[in-house]
């Protein structure tokens, strides 16, 4: 922001030798007074000869400019401008201005300065007027700095918001792809599975009666494995759908809900199923609660190794949540297995025939996480049989 423009009138400064000399005037030493003022003022003067060598200076503010040296050696803001400065000799009505600069050195810095160079034809000197930047007070500088800092922070916020938006878009895209993938698994892959079963039946029927006996068992195994895979695909689809639908909250009678679940649940005759505690009416999404209770109770029944014993389902309201325990006296779960059981298709005893694909507890855990509930399991089969699953279910308890 340097410019050439007509200089401000400065007759006293334009006379270098007189500026520091005394000139008696009616008993007043105006020259000395002026020199005194300049020494203490926020401005100073530097006179240079036609070759831009510093010959005189006045004012503490220009102490950093050494005498008898090229001006641009110390006034770095004018470095490289010799030709432009020299051109002022042809245009003495013009000036060169460099506003608001600070010249830094290892031992300190000049104050923030405005520089103005003019050519003084009468004295055949260049005059550099140096003034402290007064238009911007320290307070204004601080305010400007704060505004800049805020500007940077705002820019960072905008960038962060954009990054979050990009991540969200990516997440949405990934979810959409996952949904499409789940659909492909559940639908497109199930069809060939079905076809395989039909083909095995056709194959069996097409074989002469004498040859059927030899392959019947194998074909039955193919059909069974095909059915099992179809079931797994169905379960996987159910798993992928959890949490992707907004569940409506409504008034739920939890005693009626648990009653309907247990009533229709098959179990060995020797296995008792108790419903205990206080089951209140609550406001909650019924479908996820149904899924959690149904799967935990079913899990306790299915994995009971003797078929003789007890499964107990107990509820206790506590503030705005239900504490529900599903306890059994089955074989229990070793502590080292207690995290594995919540993974899809994981079974602790694959050799023991149990209905289902092994996704029940994975469905429970995902549902619990989506509903803001918690699920813990406690079991120490080395000490005693049985396992207890505790669900802490958030809801509005009515009574």
């Amino acid at each position: 922001m340097r410019s050439m423009k007509p200089p401000a009138r400065s007759s006293a400064a334009a006379d270098p030798p007189a500026a520091s000399e005394s000139r008696p005037s009616g008993g007043l030493d105006l020259g000395a007074a002026f020199a005194h003022a300049v020494e203490r003022a926020d401005f100073g003067f530097v006179w240079c000869d036609a070759d831009l060598i510093v010959r005189h200076r006045h004012g503490r503010i220009v102490d950093f400019v050494p005498l008898d040296r090229p001006l641009t050696e110390s006034v770095l803001a004018l470095f490289g401008m010799d030709a432009q400065v020299q051109s002022l000799r042809r245009k003495p009505q013009m000036s060169i201005e460099v506003p608001n600069v600070s010249i830094m050195a290892t031992d300190g810095a000049t104050p923030r300065l405005n520089l103005q160079v003019t050519w003084q034809p009468r004295q055949h000197h260049f005059l550099l007027l140096v003034s402290r930047v007064m238009s911007i007070s320290e307070l204004e500088v601080e305010l400007t700095r704060h505004a800049r800092e805020r500007q940077i922070m705002e820019a960072r916020l905008v960038e962060s918001a954009e990054a979050i938006a990009r991540a969200n878009a990516e997440l949405t895209r990934a979810n959409r792809e996952l949904a499409e993938f789940a659909y492909v698994i559940s639908h497109d892959l199930k069809a060939p599975m079905r076809a395989m079963r039909y083909f095995t039946e056709d194959l069996e029927n097409a074989l002469p009666e004498a040859e059927r006996a030899g392959v019947r068992e194998h074909l039955a195994k193919v059909r069974e494995q095909s059915r099992r895979m179809s079931q797994m695909l169905t379960d996987l689809l159910a798993y992928s759908k959890i949490g992707r639908k907004e569940e409506a909250v409504e008034m739920v009678d939890t005693r009626a809900l648990v009653g309907s679940i247990t009533q229709s649940m098959p179990r060995p005759e020797g296995l008792a199923l108790d419903i205990a505690g206080h089951w209140p009416r609550v406001e909650t999404a019924p479908a996820p609660l149904d899924l959690v209770l149904r799967n935990l109770i079913e899990n306790a029944i299915k994995h009971h190794d003797t078929g003789e014993g007890r499964v107990s389902v107990a509820c206790r309201p506590s503030g705005n949540q239900l504490l529900i325990d599903i306890a059994d006296d089955g074989p229990g779960i070793e502590p080292r297995h207690q995290s594995i059981i919540f993974q899809p298709f994981q079974r602790l005893a694959p050799d023991r025939p149990v209905d289902g694909s092994g996704i029940g507890l994975a469905l429970v855990r995902k549902t619990v996480e989506c509903c803001g509930a918690t699920l813990t399991v406690s079991s120490a089969p080395a000490e005693r049989r049985g396992a207890t699953f505790r669900v802490t279910w958030p809801c509005q308890v009515i009574e």
């Binding site: 922001m1 770095l76 830094m104 820019a155 960038e159």
Partner: protein
């Protein structure tokens, strides 16, 4: 002695002052203080890339100048420019690209490099994302950290070497 003027340009807060203070004073101040106006430094490039001693007059400019700096006479006698961007703020890199093309148009043939600063804010195994316009451009690029001093001298020494080589 060879003395050349080099401009430090870039958006507010990208680390121009930190770079020049690391270069000249070998110091880094964590407290951010925006440059109001222009700060001018002298730096001797050692060892000199030529036969004679080489000095840079470094103009650390106020980031709020933006592209208006090319309409002023600030850059008129500049021999080189380092355009600084903040690797953690994509917008400053886009702006660095604009300033680089602005400088190249205003002073064709002058040395120009893009300095990608604040590398220290990334884990060592992470390669920060840089706009394609910059990575595919003909302008030299250097990733720096004013905080650690990484590549700061290198950026200026490269500029000095190129200026000496071009004569």
């Amino acid at each position: 002695m060879m003395v050349r003027k080099i401009m430090l340009l870039g958006e507010i807060g990208v680390g121009k002052t930190s770079i020049v203070r690391r270069l000249v004073l070998d110091r880094f101040e964590a407290d951010y203080k925006a440059t109001i106006g222009t700060d001018i430094y002298r730096y001797e490039v050692l060892p000199s890339p030529g036969k004679a001693p080489f000095h840079f007059i470094v103009w650390d400019t106020d980031g709020s100048f933006g592209e208006s700096i090319f309409r002023s006479v600030h850059v008129k006698e500049a021999h080189a420019a380092l355009i600084v961007g903040d690797l953690t703020r994509r917008a400053t890199l886009d702006n660095a690209w604009k300033l680089a093309t602005g400088f190249a148009n205003a002073l064709p043939g002058r040395y120009l490099a893009i300095v990608l600063n604040k590398l220290d804010l990334f884990p060592p195994h992470v390669d920060p994302e840089v706009p394609e316009a910059i990575t595919t451009s003909e302008f030299p690029q250097v990733k720096t950290s004013a905080k650690s001093g990484m590549n700061v001298k290198h950026a200026f020494h490269e500029a000095a070497s190129t200026i000496v080589r071009r004569g």
